[in-house]
């Protein structure tokens, strides 16, 4: 199912004017504070009636100002995780979680028990929202939206209030949703790691306008665009789990190259997306020896882009795929890198962090 969005809505001192399509999978809305992300999501959910616009989900038109179609919010069945949790204060956590289920004809892809487990909110079920911490509230809000068996998910910075460990527990769930169900997910996040790990498509907003949209691999690997700031650039490789070793490392294979990572849980044979952050990659003209880094990919320079700053972004074509490396211009000069220069990419095992591995 595809979610098509076309909106125009002027507000005091701010005009939203966007058009994008969110294909199946997870589309990240990315942009600075005040760029219009929440406004877009509200319009898709039917909570804001834009001056002009059209929203269609899998061929069904939810609203169209031209033909005066307007489906009210409760008929849209969007699982909306609000930026401010908006739990029902008079209901217990359990009742909050169950609220959407009353209205859903069928139950969703995930059972109540699974969601509770994933969110770690088991001990809170009989409390009321007033007696929860900020992060607990946000987790319940996520559960409530997911359990409503929605046709699409709208998540507005769902993990912002959570600690890293908790994020690490919830992210895989969004991955599963993205990969195993057909429902489109619109996801707002400021976290580069989250975006990189989750996004199928990235839509970048600025001052109410879309300034860039495309597949995550495209937007994130294009050295001409570093929507997340230079530090977030990175390439995405597709790899397959080969073996789990006794010393706690997992061996992967990507286009015939071997990669070692700290042990991950996926079974042998699983296909994975690995994000290799550009700034974690060291380049070397000779194949380096005696280094603590275990992963070395050989290839040749495909492109070098230097911007205003001291850095340069080098794309290296390897058998495993394109790898991005962010190095200093001084190093690029010292190593005499040009297009076509043969070169090795050195990547620490631990630099490929768990949160950058997704399916």
């Amino acid at each position: 199912m595809k979610l098509e969005v076309e909106l125009r809505h002027p507000m005091q001192g701010f005009t939203l004017d966007v058009a994008f399509a969110a294909p199946p999978g997870l589309t990240v809305l990315f942009g600075r504070s005040g760029s219009g992300k929440t406004t877009v999501i509200n319009a898709v959910a039917g909570l804001l009636r834009p001056e002009r616009g059209r929203v269609a989900l899998g061929g069904e038109t939810l609203q169209d100002s031209a033909s005066r179609i307007w489906l009210p919010p409760h008929r849209r069945r969007m699982g909306y995780v609000f930026q401010d949790a908006r739990l029902f204060p008079h209901l217990s956590v359990r009742q909050n979680l169950g609220y959407g289920r009353w209205f859903a004809k069928t139950s969703g892809p995930t059972s109540f028990a699974q969601v509770i487990e994933m969110l770690g909110i088991g001990p809170l079920l009989d409390r009321r929202p007033g007696a929860l911490s900020g992060g607990e509230r946000q987790r319940v809000a996520i559960g409530r939206a997911l359990l409503a068996n929605p046709r699409a998910i709208l998540a507005d910075e769902p993990l912002a209030a959570l600690d890293e460990a908790r994020k690490g527990e919830i992210l895989p769930y969004f991955e599963r949703l993205r990969d195993e169900t057909k429902i489109p997910i619109l996801y707002v996040s400021h976290s580069a790691a989250e975006v990189a790990r989750l996004a199928t498509t990235v839509v970048v907003l600025q001052d109410g306008r879309v300034i860039r949209q495309g597949s995550a691999a495209e937007v994130l690997a294009d050295p001409a665009v570093t929507p997340l700031g230079a530090r977030a650039a990175g390439a995405i490789l597709t790899a397959r789990v080969v073996a789990h070793h006794a010393d706690g490392l997992t061996e992967l294979e990507a286009g015939g190259e071997r990669l070692f990572l700290p042990r991950i849980s996926h079974p042998e044979g699983t296909a994975l997306r690995l994000r290799i952050p550009a700034q974690e990659v060291i380049l070397s003209r000779q194949r380096p020896e005696g280094l603590s880094a275990l992963n070395i990919l050989s290839g040749h320079v495909a492109q070098i882009r230097s911007g205003d700053g001291p850095g340069a972004l080098v794309s290296l074509s390897t058998r495993a795929g394109t790898v991005l490396a962010r190095i200093t211009r001084r190093s690029a000069t010292a190593l005499e890198l040009r297009e076509g220069t043969p070169c090795h990419a050195v990547i620490k095992s631990v630099a490929i962090a768990p949160e950058d591995i997704g399916r």
């Binding site: 409760h74 909306y80 204060p89 008079h90 209205f103």
Partner: protein
């Protein structure tokens, strides 16, 4: 009890019956009207609002007189209702109507203020979860305005216990049938030396109404505590 005659006990029982029915029957309508006034957008809203406040603005006798004109045996509404077997004028049901009408503005205001205090964002959240407007109202708005609803009910009940002018004008003061406590008090005050009997009735009705008040406060506190989450 030796210090109140059977007629007076009848008046007490009748007042309780009348007040309870007046409160119970007008509460749903008050809720509807309050919701329309708080959230609705329609032509004639100002008119409805004015109409609701009318019993407050008018001297009670006038209200009673207007009720008698419309719901009395010669009034069109009264005749229509009589044809379906419902007599109001000079009947305890009429006393309940008078009490309900007089308490209506108080109920509506209390409920309306509560509705206006409900964060529409919560109602929006319920809508995104699939609740139609009616369901949103039943499962989110209604529980959240419970304290206001209780406040409205107790105001209506207290007013009904004290209502005199409209009641005596509309249904007269027939012992055992339409003589409420305030009417009985009035009758006692009309005769020299009736003050002590009147005072006894006053005390009883105050005790009953305060009891209801305390109970309502406890209920409202519980409802509010539920929302506060502790």
């Amino acid at each position: 009890m030796t210090w109140l005659g059977p007629e007076e006990w009848q008046a007490v029982a009748l007042s309780l019956k009348v007040s309870a029915w007046a409160t119970a029957l007008s509460l749903p309508l008050a809720l509807l009207v309050a919701h329309a006034l708080a959230r609705g957008r329609f032509v004639g809203k100002a008119l409805l609002n004015g109409l609701v406040h009318l019993p407050l603005i008018l001297p009670p006798v006038v209200t009673g007189y207007l009720l008698l004109l419309s719901f009395g045996p010669t009034g069109t509404l009264g005749q229509a209702l009589a044809s379906v077997g419902l007599t109001l004028a000079f009947h305890w049901t009429g006393a309940a109507l008078a009490a309900a009408v007089m308490g209506f503005p108080l109920m509506v205001r209390a409920i309306r203020l509560s509705i206006e205090a409900v964060d529409p964002k919560l109602e929006q959240a319920a809508a995104t979860l699939g609740a139609s407007r009616l369901w949103v109202f039943a499962t989110v708005t209604l529980p959240l305005i419970l304290p206001g609803l209780i406040a409205g009910a107790i105001l209506g009940f207290a007013k009904a216990m004290g209502e005199f002018g409209a009641t005596i004008t509309f249904v007269s003061n027939i012992p055992g049938q339409t003589q409420t406590v305030p009417s009985a008090i009035y009758a006692f005050l009309q005769v020299p030396g009736g003050e002590s009997a009147a005072a006894r009735l006053v005390m009883i009705s105050v005790a009953l109404a305060l009891g209801a008040l305390l109970a309502s406060e406890a209920l409202a506190r519980r409802a509010a505590r539920r929302v506060a989450g502790t």
